[in-house]
């Protein structure tokens, strides 16, 4: 480690170049390449193995060692996972739960963030503190009463419990992140707008919202991953097998086939990974920025 972190060669005005320098530089490059190679192996190998294995047949799983390549590249495992394994249904359910929740979170959360950061009123801090509670307290604290309410109001057989719970659970972080974004806009902007005769609602809709459009996209992305990858809430509130989200479906995938159908299981996992990869390739910088911003602010 010491070698790799030693001074870079760029600014060294006080020392004349010596013969030892090129050799050191060479060694450093070697160490650097070795570190990168190690990191690549750690990150990529498991995923690559997963994808390769998803093409294997049952007998290849049982008879061949784990590192062997698949003998053919047919998509049989994928079609089986997609149809018989209900992955298509689960993904549809996940979408139907995620999209409305996401829309509600953004709509309610951005407005609340504006009200908490830009507007002037008494009790702001108490409300912010109440939202902070939602970030700290574990979800286990809300499951039982909600389960009872959803059960007694007859919502249990639908996706409504998921949408309601996701919306509420996503609000605290969204409100905090949006409040932070609004803080970075000079107050004069809003004050000038209201001086010119705009109402607060108009100032919000015509001026504030367009100004934070990028932030809204980022916040939405963060919430998308939280909801899409959630297991606890979906596991609790989906009592009906046909309403399973993709995570719950994946968790129970082994159960449906017994322990033996490895190919379709690997294919089902791969479908998840490939889907995520697509989204990631599309907008990875946005995702990284959004998730890490949420972290420090949360």
């Amino acid at each position: 480690m010491t070698d790799t972190l030693a001074a870079p060669p760029r600014v060294r005005p006080t020392r004349p170049p010596t013969a030892a320098l090129p050799r050191r530089r060479h060694a450093r490059r070697l160490v650097r390449n070795a570190l990168v190679a190690l990191l690549l192996v750690i990150e990529v190998t498991p995923l690559l193995w997963l994808l390769l294995s998803s093409f294997k047949t049952q007998s290849e799983f049982v008879d061949d060692p784990a590192w062997s390549l698949p003998k053919s590249w047919g998509l049989a495992n994928y079609t089986e996972a997609w149809t018989t394994g209900h992955v298509a249904l689960y993904i549809r359910n996940s979408l139907m739960a995620t999209v409305p929740s996401l829309a509600l979170i953004v709509l309610l959360g951005v407005a609340a963030g504006f009200a908490l950061e830009v507007m002037v009123w008494r009790g702001r801090h108490q409300v912010l503190l109440a939202f902070l509670l939602g970030i700290m307290v574990p979800s286990q604290m809300i499951l039982l009463p909600l389960f009872r309410i959803y059960f007694q109001t007859g919502l249990s057989g639908t996706l409504a419990p998921l949408i309601i719970t996701y919306t509420a659970a996503g609000l605290p972080l969204t409100v905090f992140m949006m409040a932070t974004y609004f803080r970075s806009i000079p107050r004069e902007v809003f004050e000038a707008a209201t001086l010119d005769g705009a109402s607060v609602l108009k100032a919000f809709w015509k001026i504030a919202f367009p100004m934070v459009r990028n932030a809204v996209f980022t916040v939405g992305l963060v919430q998308f991953f939280f909801i899409w990858n959630d297991l606890l809430i979906s596991l609790t509130f989906t009592t009906d097998d046909d309403l399973r989200t993709i995570q719950v479906g994946l968790l129970n995938f082994t159960g449906q086939y017994g322990e033996t159908a490895y190919g379709p299981l690997f294919a089902a996992i791969s479908i998840n990974v490939i889907g995520a990869l697509f989204l990631y390739l599309l907008i990875n910088q946005r995702i990284i920025k959004g998730l890490t911003a949420g972290a420090v602010k949360g």
């Binding site: 010491t2 030693a6 009463p145 009872r148 607060v200 998840n272 990284i288 602010k297």
Partner: protein
Amino acid sequence: MRSVLGDRRALLILLGPALLVYTLVMLVPMGWSLGYTFFKGNVIEGFTFDGFGNFEKLWHDQQAHSALWFTFKYGVVVSVGQVLCGYLLALLYVFVLRKSSALIRTLVFFPVILPTVAVALMFQKLFAVAPQNGLANTAVEALGIHHGDWFASGGGSFLVLVVMDVWRSMGFYGVLIYAGLLDIPEETIESARMDGATGWRLIRHVVLPLSWPVVLASAVFSINGTLKVFDSVLALTNGGPGSDTTPLTLYMFRTAFSYGDYGYGSTIASLLTVVCLGVSLIIFRFSRRDPTKG
């Protein structure tokens, strides 16, 4: 002007819906759960008042103790692992790869967005012994270590769990801390180098103290997540073997939904809440810094 930005009707329209949903679906249930802790039973059997019975039970419950212990053990080990690996990655990005780190950063970050269930099932197969040795087992055996079934022992399961959760999230902490390291002025590091500080001493006496705030922020965020671990455990080990890898979250879930004991389930959830709030408070105090301004 002040009065316009303080317009009550607008406030009601903008904040009202969010606050209403949040209060009804989050705050009220939290209080309700606290109320459950004094009761026995569930929705189907009905509830009976039990006073402090659940707390007494919690005090003597061996399984709850081991779940609490596992929660702490997992939280500390994984948080240290995440922040440490994140820091090493950040050092790699800033000092070794420098300008060319973007691609590696992006690559190492990718597992962060993967569904935990998918990652856990993948690790289950990587470390499986049947029908064939998984890839990780094969690699470990190639190094001359024969471990056998990782998931047959509590220690083995814990190890795989830790490796998985560090693998899954180190890219996240790498980027987080990387951003913190970039905030250190170039001149500060340069002048420390002029004074002869290199390698470990440069890190220890210059870089680490200057990046301490972001390390603490990462630690707060990390421990806040790891104490609430649920998905990874459920999908990878299902709490087993036995209840060796069962944290409070999973124990609460089982108690409430498999055994239908709402009162005791809520009591465990309350204990978890106290632990989460307590640990966060301790770290805040320790850091004497408001991470929301961060």
